[in-house]
């Protein structure tokens, strides 16, 4: 009985459960040993594949492109205490966030009212034209997606530790859940299943963050990180955001 190719691969990577037995078999069986040596040669050839040389000054060129952008993404401040904190406030000052949230809610309400509620025949003021309302909605939705991504990126890249204070993130997530629900409902009513589905996924993740303890253990953080990573949610958000941004740039909006 010979060792399967799959077992040899796992053995090579130290992942085989019965490594000792496989080792003994390889010592005794010439055919399996030859197969294993062939595998080693293939993987050695992979190791010898050189990556292209990006050039002697590559690091300097990266820094040159990077530096002007660093000002726009200033790092969150480090807490000096025992409990580390993810301070999104450094990235989103509360004034801007509060203003954006209030504006978003207002705009969604205006959008929904304008779109779905019957309008009176005589009005004191001229309502915003449809295109303008939808353009404003796109801007607000883009902001919402950007803010949501920032929270998820922060958590996805947080270093696991014994205690991580995420009370700010919980609050932001709780705030975003309400807005997200409105956007999702608006997208569903507007007949856009793709955006509706992404917002639905986002809402679940935001709810999980909003309902998490304010201080996360290593395991709890990893669970949230897995949730973020496994659902492709960041990728989906980026796709929708870029779609929304492209629509914003079009002269006729949606």
């Amino acid at each position: 009985m010979h060792i399967s190719e799959e077992q040899l691969v796992l053995y090579r990577y130290g992942e085989a459960k019965d490594a000792a037995a496989i080792g003994e078999h390889l010592a005794a069986c010439a055919a399996c040993r030859a197969a294993y040596q062939s595998l080693e040669r293939v993987l050695a050839a992979v190791d010898q594949m050189p990556a292209p040389d990006p050039g002697e000054n590559y690091a300097a060129a990266v820094w040159q492109r990077l530096q002007p952008r660093l000002q726009q993404c200033r790092p969150a401040r480090r807490d000096e205490g025992a409990v580390r904190s993810l301070t999104l406030a450094a990235l989103f000052p509360w004034r801007r966030l509060a203003l954006a949230a209030a504006m978003a809610a207002l705009i969604v309400a205006a959008f929904l009212v304008g779109r779905f509620w019957p309008r009176p025949q005589t009005v004191a003021r001229q309502p915003l034209p449809e295109q303008v309302r939808e353009r404003i909605l796109l801007v607000a939705l883009g902001e919402h997606l950007e803010r949501s991504q920032m929270i998820l990126i922060e958590l996805a890249n947080a270093n696991p530790g014994p205690q991580l204070d995420v009370s700010s993130e919980r609050r932001w997530a709780a705030d975003l859940v309400g807005d997200n629900r409105l956007y999702r409902q608006a997208a569903a009513r507007a007949g856009d299943p793709a955006i509706t589905a992404v917002l639905d996924d986002l809402e679940r993740v935001l709810l999980e963050i909003a309902h998490s303890p304010s201080t996360l253990s290593e395991g709890e953080l990893e669970r949230i990180q897995r949730r973020i990573e496994s659902g492709d949610i960041l990728f989906k958000l980026r796709v929708v955001e870029s779609k929304v941004r492209r629509q914003e740039e079009k002269p006729n909006g949606l």
């Binding site: 790092p75 890249n157 270093n159 990728f235 796709v239």
Partner: protein
């Protein structure tokens, strides 16, 4: 720019100088595309800078940056998967089962010729791997990530991650079968 900000950027610049090339190598292995690799390097440093102040030195800076780069690469590969169904390699396009070029078209010592052919076949074979096969293989082979971690990174079961690594190795092996 405030003085602490200048100091922070200077500290970060050293990280960029030290790790850019290694990150580029990793990103290239993940994507097989130089332009994508450069994009990943840039995005990695931007994400790293956002959390730079919270990097507490418990992990090696290289490990920390590699972890971020892997996430960036996975995001990009997912985007490619959605866009095109599979990762395209710049140099891919040749068939691994094709004939070995003769010395008429590639003059030089036999050894160099063989080495070039092995690389050509490997490049083509890597280009034909699916997104998950390529990602799982690079994480296992080049990054030394255990299967359990790969399964988490890729959002799949451990058995599925094992299968991805195995299928990737099998395809590379088949591509090189007559040569090694």
């Amino acid at each position: 720019m405030s003085r602490p900000e200048i100091g922070r950027q200077e500290e970060f610049r050293l990280l960029v100088e030290q790790h850019t090339r290694a990150l580029f190598g990793l990103a290239w292995r993940m994507t097989g595309n130089q332009q994508d690799a450069e994009e990943i390097v840039q995005e990695t440093f931007l994400r790293a800078y956002r959390s730079f102040d919270r990097f507490d030195g418990r992990a090696q800076p290289g490990t920390w940056l590699h972890r971020i780069a892997v996430n960036c690469a996975l995001d990009l590969l997912r985007a490619r998967r959605h866009d095109a169904g599979r990762v395209e390699l710049e140099a891919a396009g040749s068939d691994a089962s094709g004939a070995v070029p003769t010395s008429d078209t590639a003059p030089g010592p036999d050894r160099l010729l063989l080495s070039a052919e092995i690389q050509r076949r490997l490049t083509a074979a890597l280009g034909r791997l699916s997104f998950t096969e390529r990602a799982a293989f690079v994480l296992r082979h080049h990054q030394g990530c255990p299967i359990e971690e790969i399964s988490r990174e890729l959002g799949m079961s451990e058995n599925a991650a094992k299968n991805c690594v195995f299928r990737a190795v099998q395809k590379l092996r088949e591509a090189l079968q007559p040569l090694v």
